[in-house]
């Protein structure tokens, strides 16, 4: 799974701590998702998608063979 989180965060001018507060998650979790070491739960993915006003699948991108 690829994540566009870092790119979107830069676009909105947010740091990891701010995004974490907005999504009600920890900064560590934001960092893990950005490094693509952790696939977020559906709840966290939806919260993040709402913050960036983007569909979930535009932020977290799966390769065809992963689906």
């Amino acid at each position: 799974m690829k994540s566009r989180l870092k790119e979107l965060r830069a676009r909105e001018g947010l740091n990891q701590t701010q995004l974490a507060k907005m999504a009600n998650i920890s900064r560590q979790t934001v960092s893990l998702i950005e490094r693509e070491e952790y696939m977020p739960s559906l709840l966290i993915a939806v919260r993040i998608a709402r913050i960036f006003k983007e569909p979930v699948e535009n932020i977290f991108i799966f390769e065809e063979d992963e689906l």
């Binding site: 990891q16 701010q18 920890s26 560590q28 979790t29 977020p40 966290i44």
Partner: protein
């Protein structure tokens, strides 16, 4: 595996190999160590004390750092530093407490008649390290005020403490616990075999500890399997 973990693993492996070789050669080093055990306790207490002190210094630095107002650019770096420092504080307190526990337990066996004062001092250090370990929880409450930590007298304290973590942190914790579980199984089995060999070579029965280690192994594995099975 990071550098610190590798270094700790190498040190532990060398100690275990050293103990086995020494046992094979008639416990010469071990017997010499026991003969002047008070010196060993003294040196180890100083090492444990230094680690404990460093943990205290680090926790003060951590408090100051968490109270510092930071700019937008450095906020992430500072928060990352806070997370790492908090982990280091708990690590130093936990290692020093384990050293003191080891010294009290073995010192009580070997030195209780000859050096009771020394054992009492180390016991005092053990109590201090235990309290410092407890204090790390209150430290977490101070440096992460946005988190809804449960009160220590809450009946469901452990469950609520687990729920304070978000999914990403639970994922990291799961990885850490799984690693520990993978280490503890072969390690306990090896220690049981080692204790058995030690008993046979030296004539000093370790059956009591072998029984308890076996019970521990059964409890750990049963808890793990039943937790998975019942979900």
């Amino acid at each position: 595996m990071n550098k610190l973990q590798k270094a700790v693993n190498i040190i532990i492996t060398l100690i275990v190999i050293g103990l086995v070789v020494d046992l094979w050669r008639g416990s010469l080093i071990l017997n010499k160590l026991i003969d002047s055990y008070e010196s060993f306790v003294f040196i180890m207490a100083i090492i444990g004390g230094l680690l404990f002190l460093y943990g205290i210094i680090l926790s003060r630095r951590l408090k100051k750092l968490s109270e510092k107002s930071v700019s937008f650019d450095e906020e992430d770096k500072i928060n990352e530093k806070i997370d790492k420092m908090y982990a280091d504080v708990t690590l130093f307190h936990s290692i020093s407490m384990t050293i003191f526990l080891f010294l009290v337990a073995t010192g009580f066996i070997i030195l209780r008649d000859t050096y009771p004062g020394l054992i009492l001092i180390v016991f005092g250090l053990l109590v201090a390290a235990f309290l410092a370990n407890l204090n790390t929880y209150y430290l977490a409450k101070e440096i992460y005020p946005e988190r809804n930590y449960p009160e220590t007298d809450d009946e469901q304290f452990q469950e609520k403490l687990f729920e304070v973590m978000d999914d990403g942190e639970k994922f990291i914790t799961l990885q850490a616990y799984y690693k520990v579980f993978q280490i503890i199984n072969p390690l306990l089995a090896a220690v049981i075999m080692l204790a058995s060999i030690y008993s046979a070579f030296t004539g000093e029965s370790q059956i009591f500890s072998i029984v308890f280690m076996t019970i521990m192994l059964i409890v750990i594995n049963t808890t793990y399997i039943l937790t998975i099975r019942d979900k």
